[in-house]
């Protein structure tokens, strides 16, 4: 259900094509949600069938017709109603941690390499998020919409920072383990 709501949070500001939504997901939503264009096209078709969005078809020479979706009054009401309902934390599933748990079966070096790769990936994401944060002109005087977007960015920053710290801590532990092994 949440994919539909994530789409609605974008459409409520501006009409968009599936293709544009897909790009906007990658840019502004990816800290906490991601969807492939295929998922988005499918979801938009469903939402249209339910009367949550409506579509304007714009013919284009050569290319497939543009289908510009906008939210309906019903879609808007549904979104606002959903906001007031309690929701659970999403389930996390981290492949890396499955490897950590089983990691005692192999020499520490194997995990160390893998964790270093992850640390690098988290560092890169964090750098990107900080760059976005720096581009916000006057952080003390955002309008409500901008402020809410900023709160999600802060969560992305917190999330990547946590991973970086955990990677550092874990690398330290595994490296000292490696040294002990070599002394024997």
């Amino acid at each position: 259900m949440s994919l539909a709501h994530a789409i609605a949070t974008i459409l409520i500001k501006n009409p968009r094509t599936g293709y544009e939504l897909s790009k906007e997901f990658n840019e502004k939503v990816s800290y906490y949600w991601q969807a492939t264009s295929q998922q988005i096209y499918r979801e938009l078709a469903r939402m249209e069938a339910q009367g949550l969005v409506e579509v304007e078809v714009i013919p284009q020479g050569g290319r497939p017709d543009k289908k510009v979706y906008s939210i309906t009054e019903q879609g808007r009401k549904e979104l606002i109603q959903w906001l007031a309902q309690p929701s659970e934390s999403s389930a996390t599933r981290e492949e890396l941690l499955v490897k950590i748990k089983a990691g005692f079966l192999v020499p520490p070096a194997i995990l160390i390499k893998e964790i270093e790769r992850h640390r690098q990936a988290h560092q890169t994401k964090l750098d990107t998020y900080y760059a976005i944060e720096r581009q916000i002109p006057d952080r003390e005087h955002l309008n409500r919409e901008e402020l809410h977007l900023y709160l999600t960015l802060r969560c992305g920053i917190a999330y990547e920072t946590m991973w970086l710290n955990w990677c550092e801590e874990t690398l330290t532990t595994l490296r000292s383990l490696e040294e002990e092994d070599q002394q024997k």
Copy 2:
């Protein structure tokens, strides 16, 4: 694929029934992976078909037969081989953040209530994790298996702490927003 590996990390230590695996998931794996018993039963059947696990059927009076699964040599090799292969960070999908983003459509009080609920849930989880940590006798001298389990617990602690901090930060922002609204 990862569910099979998560199951394998348990079976590699001790044979287990699907039912027991399900309980152990809730107790020791839930910081980073969760699975319903239905998923586990289905996955075990698949793994057996692939020769990764084997099963001993123990008849019980009245109740359904116990099916005790253990890992095969092939399953063990597959797990160790998988450990050395790079894997991506799992995708996160947080419903709460979808609500935060759309939250400018409703009065701050609605989100504040929801975030307080989440803060409470994260606090409870964190308390549980700290309690587990305190029960570890000699943290400086764990064997490798125990150490690796502990590293995953540390990740659970870091994750819940991050959420707590973000909830606090966000509540502060939204509350001052609420005060401004009331002054007008």
